[in-house]
Each structure stands twice: as structure tokens, then as C-alpha cells.
């Protein structure tokens, strides 16, 4: 039996052929094209609504999905990247600096995966070493000093698991970044834009508001990591993704995020401009709402947000 996804792929192929033919021959094929386009759109919407959790993980990792810098280029002006943790080095997997977000001055902190093979390797696929989190801490000091609201874009499979990372205190650096966010006296708006992998993601996730894009995931462990612990088999990741309930709608239902930011049909990579517009609007709106609050209210509100998290019963 063919699924809507199969039908969609078939129709998309037919649509491409027809469009090619129209272009090649110069013929007006709109009589055929218009209904086909409408049907493809409708099926994309249907598929989107019925995506499995593992399919959403696939979209969060899709080749061509916009990275943090793709959003920064579309949404920010005056971005001055500030490098280094002032102690050991500069981590290319976590970037930051002052910028204007939709015209509003902010401190931007973002996990950057890289856009081609070379830059992906240089940026370790968005997996930070401790100096990345320590740079974030330094830039949050900077944000407090200049009263700049903090905007973070989260996109990491997790903190880098390496010998040197452990030698330099990976756990200590993440804990320090979490604590620094708790102590911020300026607004903090966080957005998960792809992968929200474990503590390495939470290090930039302690916001007054936390948003997640429709096809991003956020979890205590990656589906592969969970599958290799549970079944000793990373190939069972699709089952683990279901069990972990790691998608944007799951996070919203669990009360761990304020808002799911919509993506274009088929995922952010289908239309990066539209994805950026939605993200830009959502972050700006939350920044505007928070701008009325004073430093004590901001810190207390953030503390209350996280203090209330957890599921248990009292006996």
C-alpha cells in the first residue's frame, strides 16, 4: 500500500518533469501544472502533520537545512563576531557577539554546524569543546555589562566527546554556562533550530523563553545514543526517537518550550527565507514582551520557569 509520502514523491517527480517540459518547449502547461502543484502542496501538509518522530529528526538534520549563520545573515545586522574564551582558544562550533536582531541590539550566541564538508569538520558538526561554553560565559558577562538581551540559537548533536574536552573540563564548562544563564540580568530568548542534543544544548538553553522550530528536536540523549544503550544497536534509533518524545510538539505538550515556530512545508531547507522570517518574528516578539521587565524580575522569572520543571507525585 502506498503512503501519502510515496504518493507525494511520485507527484513531485511528475511535477518536476512537467515544469522541465514547459521550460524546454515554451508551451503553456498551466492547465496541467496548477492542479498538480495544489495537490503536491496538500500532500506536503498532510505528510507534515503525520511525520513520525524519526522523520522529524531526519528533517532536523536534512542536508541544506539552514544553519545558525544562515539565519544570522537573514535576520541580523551589525553582527561583530567576538572570538575566544580568553583562556585557551576559540571554538568555531559556538559563535557569538553583539548584533541587531530585527534592528534590536542583542548579544547573539549560536551553535554553528558548518555548511560544507570543510567547514563542518572545522566546526566539529556543532559539537563544542569547553572553550566554546567558556566563550559563551564571557559573552554573557559582556551582555550583562552592556544590558544586551541574549538570543541563543541551539543546534548541536551534543558537546564534543574527546580526550582534550575532558581534560579541559567539559562538564565544568557546561555547568558554568547553565549557571551563567541562570544569573543573567537581561532577557534571554533561546531557539532550538535543529538538534538540541543533551547538556551541550541546555548550556545555551536557560532562557526566559525557549522556542523550538517545528522540525527540530531536543532531548536528554540522541536517538542513536539511547538506542545503543537500550538495545546495544544504534540502528534502532527510530524506536528510541519515539520513546524519547523529542519533537517540537512533544516539548510543547511537556511544557518545556513556550512556542513552536512553524517551518515551510517539507522543512526549513525547502524555503530558508520563509523559515528565517518566522524565526525572526517569533524571537523579536518575545524580546519585545520581555523588554518591559527589570533585571530582578527577569532573573526570578527565569528561575521560576526552570524550578517548576519535572514530573513526580507527592505521597
Amino acid at each position: 500500500m502506498s503512503t501519502p509520502a510515496d504518493t507525494l514523491r511520485e507527484l513531485e517527480a511528475r511535477l518536476r518533469d512537467l515544469e522541465d517540459a514547459a521550460q524546454r518547449t515554451g508551451q503553456d502547461l498551466s492547465v496541467a501544472l496548477t492542479p498538480l502543484r495544489a495537490e503536491v502542496e496538500r500532500l506536503r501538509g498532510e505528510c507534515q502533520a503525520h511525520l513520525t518522530r524519526w522523520e522529524r529528526v531526519g528533517l532536523a538534520r536534512a542536508p541544506g537545512r539552514p544553519t545558525a549563520l544562515d539565519y544570522v545573515e537573514r535576520l541580523c545586522t551589525d553582527f561583530a563576531e567576538l572570538h575566544g574564551d580568553r583562556a585557551y582558544g576559540d571554538d568555531p562550533a559556538l559563535i557569538g557577539g553583539p548584533a541587531r536582531w530585527g534592528g534590536v541590539p542583542v548579544m547573539l550566541l549560536a551553535q554553528q554546524k558548518g555548511r560544507d564538508t570543510k567547514s563542518k569538520i572545522r566546526r566539529r558538526f556543532g559539537m563544542s569543546n569547553p572553550e566554546g561554553y567558556r566563550k559563551a560565559i564571557r559573552l554573557m558577562d559582556f551582555a550583562d555589562r552592556f544590558g544586551l538581551p541574549v538570543v541563543t540559537l541551539i543546534d548541536t548533536p551534543g558537546a564534543y566527546p574527546g580526550i582534550e574536552a575532558e581534560e579541559r573540563g567539559q562538564g565544568w564548562a557546561i555547568a558554568g554556562s547553565i549557571q551563567r544563564m541562570v544569573r543573567l540580568r537581561v532577557p534571554a530568548v533561546c531557539a532550538v533550530i535543529g538538534e538540541g542534543g543533551s547538556g551541550g544544548a541546555l548550556a545555551l538553553g536557560v532562557g526566559n523563553r525557549v522556542l523550538i522550530q517545528e522540525n527540530a528536536w531536543y532531548s536528554v540523549i540522541s536517538p542513536e545514543g539511547a538506542a545503543s544503550i537500550i538495545w546495544k544497536d544504534a540502528a534502532k534509533a527510530p524506536q528510541a526517537a519515539e520513546a524519547l518524545q523529542l519533537t517540537a510538539p512533544d516539548l510543547l505538550r511537556l511544557g518545556l518550550v513556550e512556542e513552536v515556530v512553524p517551518e515551510p512545508l517539507g522543512g526549513a531547507h525547502r524555503d530558508p527565507d520563509a523559515a528565517a522570517a518566522a524565526l525572526g518574528e517569533a524571537v523579536s516578539r518575545h524580546l519585545a514582551e520581555l523588554s518591559a521587565l527589570g533585571p530582578d524580575e527577569l532573573k526570578a522569572g527565569r528561575a521560576a520557569r526552570f524550578r517548576a520543571m519535572g514530573a513526580f507525585r507527592e505521597v
Binding site: A175, V206, V220, I229, G310
Partner: protein, 287 residues
């Protein structure tokens, strides 16, 4: 307040390897048989080779606190199954087994007590309960203990023993890292000391949150302490790990812990340190 069978002497926790029935335990390091009575009298440190055997939370507080001083605070918060998580078995079945094994609702024991006369609030993670994994209950009990310490004006001493955040509560477990950090703010604001003792093993989300933001971080000799587990690192970098990697002494050398302290010295070390930080007169032990 329940005393959680605190005064009942228990046999040392069973370790891997052959078990000598009843009276003896085999040291996992030197493989010698040691009288359980001798282990009890020696803070569960092997008298032959100095290996620090793993303790459950009850044993831990026996070693740390003045006899009879412990007043339990934890125990009313019980875990639930918010995601209906099922892997090789349903999460509630896993919980029920760990609860039966340890006699605790979850992997944490907190309360108040004294160390050589000095009042403290304490929290001990229980590795015997599901590898000391941190879910909502562990996070909540640690947060409440830290808040109690801030309210009561006592130092806070936490003993970490954990494989990290609990997978079965997914993102809710992850958020406990932020929640505990929030709760510890009260201590910092009131100028009260927070000491964490990292025991074998302390890894994952626990290392990346409350355990490593203490004012003083103490490690037990030989304890495995790190963020990523050694197996994950090995799979990623495909190299052998250096000798002593992620052990307490390695972390001391790399500047990550304040001191490696023999378990048999914990009481005098803490009494002396906390006495200075809270401006108490010197205790007898530091004379």
C-alpha cells in the same frame, strides 16, 4: 520524620566479581577477601589496598555524619512515568525493581545532620538505584535540600554518584540540570558554602550541572569523573584512552577538582573547611 532504616547495619554493597558469603567481601581492586566488619569500621575502604568501594546513599551518610544525627527530609517525592517510556521493559517496572532493591522511592537521600558537631544539610545520590540516574525526583529532592540549607542557614554537602541524566524521562531529566542550578542560587546569595563530593562514578548531566558548580569540589581517590563516558569517547576518536583518564587524580592534575580526599578523612576535612567558611570555632578534630 522517617529515619529510613538509617541505624540498621548493612552488608557492604555487592560488587562485581566473586562474592564470599555473609562475612566477607572481595575487594574489586586487590581481589582480597575482606571482613565486612572491617570494611564497616574503615568507611568501606579496603584495608589492604585503599580501594574505595561504592556506597549506597544510606552507607554514605553513615560514613559522613555523626552517629544518630541524621534527620531524613527526602522520601515523599515519588517518580512517575510522564512519557509512558518503554524500552526493553516499561519504566514503571524498572522503577519498581530499583525501589524494591534499595528501599527508596528514587536515587537520592537527603536530610540534615551534624559533622563533628557542625550542622549541615546533606544529599547523597544512590548509585544502587538505577545507576544513580537523575530524573525529576532526584532533581526535585536536591533542589529542596539546597533550598532547605539556604533557609536554615546551614552549609550544603552533596555526594554525587551517578551515570548521568535518566533517559526514561527524556527532556524532563535534562531540565533538572537547570532546576538544581536555580535552587543552589539561594546558597550563593546567602553566602552559605556548598561542597560537592564526587564519588565513583560521576558522569554525564550530573557532572555538567550541580556537581561541578560547588564552592569546593572534592573527589574520592580513584573515582571515575567525566562528562562523556569512556566508551563514547573511544567510539568517537577511535584511539585508546590514556592511563588514569577521567580518574580523580587526573582531574586534580588538570585543575578540575579542589582536592582528592580519602573517604576516611571526609569528616575532619569537611568540619575544618566548613568551620572556617562559616566562622565557627575550630572543632576538636582540627586542634
Amino acid at each position: 520524620m522517617a529515619l529510613d532504616r538509617f541505624f540498621r547495619r548493612r552488608r557492604p554493597q555487592q560488587q562485581a566479581g566473586a562474592e564470599l558469603p555473609d562475612l566477607w567481601t572481595q575487594c574489586p581492586q586487590c581481589k582480597e577477601g575482606v571482613y565486612n566488619r572491617d570494611l564497616d569500621l574503615n568507611a568501606h575502604v579496603c584495608p589492604r589496598c585503599g580501594h574505595h568501594l561504592r556506597l549506597d546513599a544510606g552507607q554514605r551518610l553513615e560514613v559522613l555524619l555523626d552517629p544518630g544525627s541524621f534527620q531524613q527530609r527526602s522520601g515523599r517525592v515519588h517518580p512517575v512515568d510522564p512519557l509512558g517510556f518503554e524500552d526493553t521493559e516499561p519504566y514503571p517496572a524498572r522503577l519498581a525493581r530499583a525501589q524494591k532493591k534499595t528501599g527508596r522511592p528514587d536515587a537520592i537521600l537527603t536530610g540534615t545532620g551534624t559533622i563533628l558537631g557542625l550542622p549541615v544539610t546533606v544529599a547523597a545520590m544512590d548509585f544502587a538505584f538505577s545507576g544513580g540516574s537523575m530524573g525529576s525526583v532526584v532533581g526535585e529532592e536536591i533542589a529542596r535540600a539546597a533550598e532547605h540549607a539556604a533557609g536554615a542557614g546551614t552549609p550544603f554537602v552533596l555526594v554525587a554518584a551517578s551515570g548521568g541524566a535518566r533517559m526514561q524521562e527524556s527532556a524532563l531529566s535534562l531540565m533538572q540540570m537547570a532546576k538544581t542550578t536555580v535552587a543552589l542560587e539561594g546558597l550563593a546569595e546567602r553566602g552559605l558554602p556548598y561542597v560537592s563530593i564526587l564519588s565513583d562514578p560521576t558522569t554525564g548531566g550530573v557532572t555538567a550541572s550541580f556537581a561541578t558548580i560547588a564552592d569546593v569540589i572534592v573527589a574520592e581517590p580513584g573515582a571515575l569523573i567525566g562528562f562523556a563516558g569512556p566508551r563514547v569517547i573511544q567510539q568517537t576518536i577511535r584511539q585508546n584512552l590514556p592511563e588514569g583518564f577521567q580518574r580523580a587524580e587526573f582531574l586534580l592534575e588538570h585543575g578540575m577538582v579542589d582536592a582528592v580526599v580519602d573517604r576516611r578523612e571526609h569528616r575532619t576535612y569537611l568540619r575544618s573547611l566548613l568551620g572556617v567558611l562559616t566562622r565557627q570555632p575550630a572543632g576538636e578534630a582540627s586542634a
